[in-house]
C-alpha cells in the first residue's frame, strides 16, 4: 500500500511510487534524485515543518505540503 511521505517515520526506507507536482518542481526533484522508482530514507519527520530526506548521500529538506503529494512504499 503506497502512502504519502509525511506518514512515514524517521529511519524508514521508502521506494517512491509517484510524485504529484508541477512540471518545473518535478524537474528540481529529479535533479536531486527524487523520482518514481528512487529509494530514499526518512531522516526527520516532525509533526510539522519540512521533512529531511536522505537521497543518495545527501540530506534534502522538503516542504511538508509537497511531501504530502509524494507517495511511496516502505522497503
Amino acid at each position: 500500500m503506497k502512502q504519502a511521505l509525511i506518514t512515514f517515520r524517521e529511519g524508514d526506507k521508502v521506494k517512491i511510487e509517484c510524485v504529484h507536482c508541477g512540471k518545473n518542481f518535478r524537474k528540481r526533484l529529479i535533479d536531486l534524485g527524487l523520482f518514481d522508482g528512487a529509494e530514499i530514507e526518512i531522516i526527520k519527520n516532525d509533526k510539522y515543518g519540512p521533512l529531511i530526506l536522505k537521497i543518495f548521500n545527501s540530506q534534502i529538506a522538503l516542504g511538508r505540503g509537497q511531501a504530502a503529494k509524494i507517495y511511496g512504499n516502505k522497503i
Binding site: 510524485v19 507536482c21 512540471k23 518545473n24 518542481f25 518535478r26 524537474k27 528540481r28 526533484l29 529529479i30 535533479d31 536531486l32 534524485g33 523520482f35 518514481d36 522508482g37 528512487a38 526527520k44 516532525d46 509533526k47 510539522y48 515543518g49 519540512p50 529531511i52 537521497i55 543518495f56 548521500n57 545527501s58 540530506q59 534534502i60 529538506a61 522538503l62 516542504g63 511538508r64 505540503g65 509537497q66
Partner: protein, 685 residues
C-alpha cells in the same frame, strides 16, 4: 596539433561541492565579478598562469542538471555551446558520487570537453565510500583526477589532465548510456527530422537537441522557435512525448530520469566499494539533531542570531567612529585649506558638505557590512544556514515566504543593504523580488538614532518600549505587505521549499575573505557613485539660491520643504523643518537627526541622548502623538539611496527601486495617518 597559449576553462558542478573553493584556489585574488549578459546571475572569472600558459577560468552557476526551464538555467549550456571553452571541469563531491554523475551524463551528452575533478576523496574514504578512480574514468570515457579544492596538492596531475584534454584532437566523449528501445525510436525520428532540415550541425548537436526537445528544455525550444520548420518539429516532439507517455504511463522527464539514474546505479556498483561509517560523522549527526530539533532549533538559532548581531555592532562601532572622525578631520582640514586659498565659500561648501559629507555617510557603513558579511559567510560555509532555513520554513511558509527568506530579513535589522544583497541565495526571481520589496520595513540601524532622539525627547520614561513598538510594527507591516504582494502581484509565486542540507565543514577562510571583499567593494563602487551624485543634488538644493544659509528656510530645499509640508498636516508634523529632514533622510536615515540640528541652529547633536537643547526645540514643534507618527513615518517611508542603488543592481532595472519609493512612502503615510488621527480621536493628542 595546435598549441594555444591561452586556455579557457569552465568550472561546473553541483552546489556545495567545493566549486567556488577550487575557483579561489586556482585564481587567488585575480578575479572579476560581473553579471552574465542580460541576466541577474553573477558571473565570475579569473586567471592564473601554469607552465607559461595563461589560463582563464569561468565559474559557472552551481547546478544539479543542464535541463533548463528558466532563462537563468541556460547559462552553462550557452557557455559550453557558444563560447566553446577548451576544457570544462566538473567538480564532483566524492562523498556523493551518484547524484553528481547526473550532471556528468548531461555534460557528456552535450559534447563538453570534460575533465572530472574528484573533491573530498579523503572524506569519502572516512565515511563509507571508496572510489575506484581508474574504473570510473574508463566507464565514463572521461579523464578523472583527484583534486583537493582547498590546496594545490594535486594541481600537477589536475593540470596535466586539463592540458591533455585541451590539446587532444577529439574532444567529445562518447557515453555508453542508452535510453531503451522506446525512447531511442522517438529520438531517432526527431534526429532524422533535424538532419533533413538543418545544415551545418554536428551529429552531437543533433543528439543533444533531440533529447532536450523531449525534455522541454527552454534553450532548445528558444533556438528551434526561430526556424521555419518549428511548427512541424513541435508537432513531432509532441507526438513522441504522447506516445512515450502511453507506453510507460509516466511523464517524459521521469522516464529519462529513470534511464539516467539506472545507468548511474550500474556504474557506481562497479566503482564504489562501501565499508562502515566512522566516528566523525556521528558527532556531526548529534549536533544536527540539536539544531534541527523541533523545540531546540529555534531557540538555538535565536542565540546564534543574537551573538551575530552583538558581535557585528560591538566590532563595527569603533571602526565606524574612526571613519566618522576621519571624514570630520578631512572636512575640517579642507575647510581651512580652502580658506587659505581664498576659494569661494560655495566651492568649499560643495566639497565639505556635499562630497565629503555624502561619501563619508556611505563609507561609514563599510565596517558594518563587512563584518556582517564575514560572520554570515562563515555560518553559510559551515553548513548551518541551510538548517536555519529548514527550522524557519514552517513559520515563513505561513506568511507566504520561502524558508530561506528569513536570513535576508534578519540582516535587514542591521542594514537593509546586506539584507537585500543576501536575497541572492533565494531560488527563484519572484521569491527574491518579494523579499527585496519588504526588506526595508526591517528597521535598520540607521533609523535607531532618530528613535532615540524622539523617544528620548517625548517618551523618556517608556523609551525602550516605544522603540521596541516601532521594530515590531516594521515586522507586522512587512508580513502584511508580503501577504498582499503574494496575493495580488505575484500570484503564481510559491516555489515549494526544497533545500540541500550540506554536511558540516570548516569554512574556507580564503574564500570567505574574497567573498566579503567582493561584497564590500560592490557596495563602495555602485552605491558610492549613485550616492555621491544624489548628495551633490541635495547640496545644490540646500545651497541655492546663491547666498542663503545652508539648508535654511530661504534655500531651495527650505522652499520645497514648505511646499510639501501640507502633505504631512494630517499626520501632525507640518513644520517645514521636518519635511526638509525627511527629504535629506532619503540620503541616509541618520541624516534626519543632523538635519534637525542644522535647521534648529543647534550644533553638537551627534549624540541624540545628550542633545537636550535639540529635544527642547523638538518639544516646541511636535506634540507627543505627532512625534510618534513622525517616528512611524521614518520607519516605513522610502528607503535610503544606498538601498535603492542595491535594489537597482539586484533587479537589473529602475522599475523596482522607483516602485519601492512610491509604495513604502504611501504605506508610511497611511500608517502615520491612522496613528495620528486615531490617537486624536481617542484624545491621546
Amino acid at each position: 596539433m595546435e598549441i594555444k597559449s591561452n586556455l579557457i576553462i569552465g568550472l561546473a558542478g553541483n552546489p556545495n561541492v567545493g566549486k567556488s573553493t577550487l575557483f579561489n584556489t586556482l585564481t587567488g585574488a585575480h578575479q572579476h565579478v560581473g553579471n552574465w549578459p542580460g541576466k541577474t546571475v553573477e558571473k565570475k572569472h579569473g586567471e592564473f598562469t601554469y607552465l607559461d600558459k595563461k589560463i582563464k577560468v569561468v565559474d559557472l552557476p552551481g547546478s544539479y542538471s543542464l535541463t533548463a526551464y528558466t532563462e537563468e538555467e541556460t547559462i552553462t549550456a550557452d557557455f559550453i555551446l557558444e563560447e566553446k571553452p577548451d576544457v570544462v571541469v566538473q567538480i564532483i563531491d566524492a562523498q556523493n558520487l551518484e547524484r553528481n554523475l547526473f550532471l556528468t551524463i548531461q555534460l557528456i551528452e552535450l559534447g563538453a570537453p570534460l575533465v572530472i575533478a574528484l573533491n573530498m576523496v579523503d572524506l569519502a574514504i572516512n565515511t563509507d565510500q571508496k572510489i575506484n578512480i581508474k574504473a570510473l574514468s574508463e566507464l565514463l570515457c572521461v579523464p578523472v583526477v583527484e583534486m583537493d579544492a582547498r590546496s594545490k596538492k594535486h594541481l600537477g596531475s589536475f593540470m596535466k589532465a586539463v592540458f591533455e584534454k585541451a590539446f587532444s584532437d577529439k574532444k567529445a566523449d562518447k557515453i555508453k548510456l542508452t535510453y531503451g528501445t522506446d525512447i531511442n525510436d522517438e529520438l531517432g525520428k526527431i534526429r532524422q527530422f533535424l538532419r533533413e532540415k538543418e545544415n551545418n550541425v554536428t551529429e552531437e548537436e543533433i543528439n543533444w537537441t533531440a533529447i532536450k526537445l523531449l525534455e522541454g528544455d527552454y534553450r532548445a525550444e528558444q533556438k528551434a522557435s526561430n526556424k521555419a520548420h518549428y511548427s512541424e518539429l513541435k508537432l513531432l516532439v509532441k507526438r513522441s512525448i504522447a506516445r512515450l507517455h502511453k507506453i510507460c504511463n509516466k511523464d517524459i522527464n521521469t522516464i529519462l530520469a529513470r534511464a539516467r539514474y539506472g545507468f548511474i546505479k550500474g556504474l557506481s556498483e562497479d566503482v564504489i566499494g562501501r565499508h562502515t561509517i566512522s566516528g566523525h560523522k556521528k558527532l556531526a549527526d548529534k549536533f544536527d539533531h540539536i539544531v534541527t530539533n523541533k523545540y531546540l532549533g529555534i531557540p538555538f538559532f535565536a542565540i546564534v542570531a543574537w551573538v551575530l548581531f552583538q558581535t557585528t555592532f560591538k566590532l563595527s562601532k569603533p571602526l565606524m567612529g574612526w571613519i566618522e572622525l576621519l571624514f570630520e578631520f578631512l572636512g575640517a582640514n579642507l575647510t581651512s585649506l580652502m580658506a587659505t586659498w581664498n576659494a569661494p565659500t560655495w566651492v568649499s561648501s560643495l566639497l565639505v558638505d556635499g562630497v565629503i559629507g555624502g561619501v563619508g555617510g556611505v563609507l561609514v557603513f563599510v565596517p558594518i557590512i563587512g563584518i556582517l558579511f564575514l560572520l554570515m559567510a562563515l555560518l553559510e560555509d559551515s553548513g548551518y544556514m541551510a538548517r536555519v532555513a529548514y527550522v524557519m520554513d514552517k513559520f515563513m511558509h505561513r506568511i507566504g515566504l520561502h524558508g530561506k527568506a528569513f536570513i535576508p530579513l534578519i540582516l535587514g535589522f542591521g542594514c537593509n543593504v546586506p539584507g537585500i544583497m543576501a536575497t541572492r541565495t533565494l531560488p527563484t526571481k519572484k521569491d527574491r523580488l518579494l523579499t527585496i520589496l519588504i526588506n526595508p520595513f526591517m528597521s535598520c540601524g540607521a533609523r535607531l538614532p532618530v528613535y532615540i532622539l524622539f523617544a528620548g525627547a517625548f517618551f523618556s520614561a517608556y523609551q525602550g518600549w516605544v522603540i521596541f513598538s516601532l521594530y515590531f510594527l516594521g515586522i507586522i507591516v512587512a508580513i502584511v505587505m508580503g501577504f498582499l504582494f503574494k496575493k495580488f502581484l505575484f500570484k503564481k509565486l510559491s516555489s515549494p521549499f526544497v533545500i540541500e542540507l550540506p554536511p558540516y565543514r570548516w569554512p574556507a577562510i580564503k574564500g570567505v575573505l574574497i567573498h566579503v571583499w567582493e561584497r564590500v567593494w560592490i557596495f563602495i563602487k555602485k552605491a558610492g557613485t549613485i550616492i555621491l551624485a544624489f548628495s551633490i543634488i541635495i547640496w545644490l538644493l540646500a545651497s541655492a539660491p546663491f547666498g542663503v544659509d545652508y539648508g535654511s528656510q530661504d534655500s531651495l530645499a527650505g522652499s520645497i520643504g514648505q511646499t510639501i509640508s501640507p502633505v504631512f498636516r494630517p499626520l501632525g508634523f507640518d513644520n517645514w523643518q521636518s519635511s526638509v529632514a525627511l527629504m535629506f533622510g532619503f540620503v541616509a536615515k541618520e541624516v534626519i537627526v543632523s538635519t534637525f540640528g542644522t535647521l534648529y541652529g543647534i550644533d553638537d547633536v551627534e549624540d541624540g541622548e545628550g542633545g537636550t537643547s535639540l529635544s527642547n526645540a523638538l518639544q516646541d514643534n511636535f506634540t507627543p502623538l505627532a512625534a510618534y507618527a513622525f517616528m512611524i513615518f521614518v520607519l516605513l517611508y522610502a528607503p535610503c539611496l544606498a538601498v535603492l542603488a542595491v535594489v537597482k543592481r539586484e533587479t537589473n532595472s529602475w522599475k523596482w527601486p522607483l516602485f519601492m519609493v512610491g509604495y513604502t512612502t504611501a504605506v508610511a503615510w497611511i500608517f502615520a495617518f491612522i496613528v495620528y488621527q486615531g490617537g486624536n480621536l481617542l484624545n491621546f493628542g
